[in-house]
Symmetry: C2
């Protein structure tokens, strides 16, 4: 009802969130988005080797937020690897309630975003995570996420979206680890936006070699390339830029090259709603 707060549950399917970052996030949201109530699930602070708690704890937290009608949205605390382990523990147990809410994350989150989209969830989006507040100028990224999560503000969106063509966005390496599994959505007819961070160029080429050979990706409407940042040294010099690499694989596989996308592991990372925008009424 009018005046009700938008309730956003934050979980960490991958790496853990630091307590001081959580405090900073809550303070920023309270000041900048008074209509939003952030609930950071205590699972975010668990620690279990690489992960924010054991697989079962991360899956339980995800389900508690996703299946609880009091939450309007589920927001990723951060990425970092772990969502792929949680996806098969989560996806079969999502209720009709879960299908009504909005899911936002990127990078490692792609494992679950892919599975949700494949399962027909209508409100799945690629965009900043809570921990992006720690980046230089990161409040802009978090404000963008909160403006989308709370009001689906069109000013937050990747500017090249078309109402005529559905879109998805993925971290390239994560998408390569989804190809050939039950998480992989049918990307036929979709614009596929890709971004990458902290990889050697030979690995970027190898990931594209892989996804461009996947039948579902070959049927996409075209590829747009977001930022490829913090590229690690290649031995020897690879001999091509990220854009040249993507254009090579578009040529080899008959996929249309559609130019740049305004996404990446940075504070400019714009929102990409999966599917066709505008979304149906939720």
């Amino acid at each position: 009802m009018p005046g009700d707060k938008i309730r956003i549950g934050i979980v960490a399917p991958g790496k853990r969130l630091e307590e001081d970052v959580a405090r900073r996030l809550v303070a920023f949201a309270a000041q900048a988005f008074p209509n939003v109530e952030l609930q950071i699930h205590p699972q975010c602070f668990l620690s279990h080797g690489h992960f924010a708690g054991p697989d079962e704890a991360r899956a339980k937290a995800f389900l508690e937020v996703a299946n609880d009608p009091r939450f309007d949205a589920l927001w990723w605390a951060r990425g970092g690897y772990g969502a792929g382990r949680v996806a098969p523990l989560v996806l079969p147990h999502l209720s009709d309630v879960a299908k009504k809410k909005l899911y936002l994350g990127y990078s490692d989150a792609g494992f679950i975003l892919a599975g949700l989209y494949r399962a027909g969830f209508p409100f799945v989006a690629h965009g900043p995570v809570a921990r992006d507040i720690t980046r230089d100028g990161g409040e802009a990224a978090v404000a963008r996420a909160l403006a989308f999560l709370s009001a689906r503000d069109p000013a937050t969106l990747e500017p090249g979206l078309s109402a005529a063509v559905p879109a998805v966005a993925f971290n390239l390496c994560v998408l390569s680890h989804i190809v050939g599994t039950d998480l992989m959505p049918d990307l036929s007819g979709h614009v596929l936006m890709l971004e990458e961070v902290s990889e050697e160029l030979y690995r970027i080429d190898r990931s594209l070699c892989h996804i461009a050979a996947a039948p579902s990706v070959r049927g996409c409407a075209g590829i747009r390339l977001g930022r490829v940042s913090d590229i690690l040294p290649n031995d020897p010099d690879f001999g091509a830029t990220p854009e040249e690499i993507v254009r090579h694989w578009c040529g080899v596989s008959g996929i249309a090259w559609l130019g740049a996308a305004d996404i990446g592991h940075d504070v400019e990372n714009r929102i990409v709603p999966f599917g066709r925008w505008p979304w149906p009424k939720g």
Copy 2:
């Protein structure tokens, strides 16, 4: 006929071979294997960014050796990434002559070894490459490869092979980049041996998360783990050893854990003939 030399053609589908390494290799083979004639294709010395020449040149060299009846075997100069780009240029153009010869390589070679095995080539094997001679004690690895290439010497084989169950061997990360593509063989009923080098543990876990979700891998007879060497630091400490990681994924996916395998990025790397050993008469 008796007295004829065994002719082995060496090509480089990935990175280039250094001329001094080639000279050392030829000298060693002439002394230790007088019945072998090594022919190092000049393509091995080409340089094109990351690769030993452009894709077309690497594919042409591969086809020249594979389709030439004067060669008994095709041996990988080295790995390093590039075979996946060449595979679709090579596989449709292999003749019946190509089907009669022996193919030996590992690591990046797995892209083409997979495609050859899937296409029904009977003599495909995972084992040392020519450039392993540069490792400390590397002459032992090259001698093992040459003893297998020239005489199929059973002393060179991975000791756990069983006549009852077919086997394959792959670099884990390379296999992850084959899943979901036309190169992926059906591994149902096969013992799958895996090895890895120079990766963080989270990447190793992520590759296993990927392959264990692939239907074809789930049907395998079990996994054996070779050496996982030069493990890069994980931030934070991952919390499990490579064997524990593999056993976790075997448990999750219902794959049998079959213990260690004597393969790896090192001079001890034993030969794994794809399929059922002994092979049919060639």
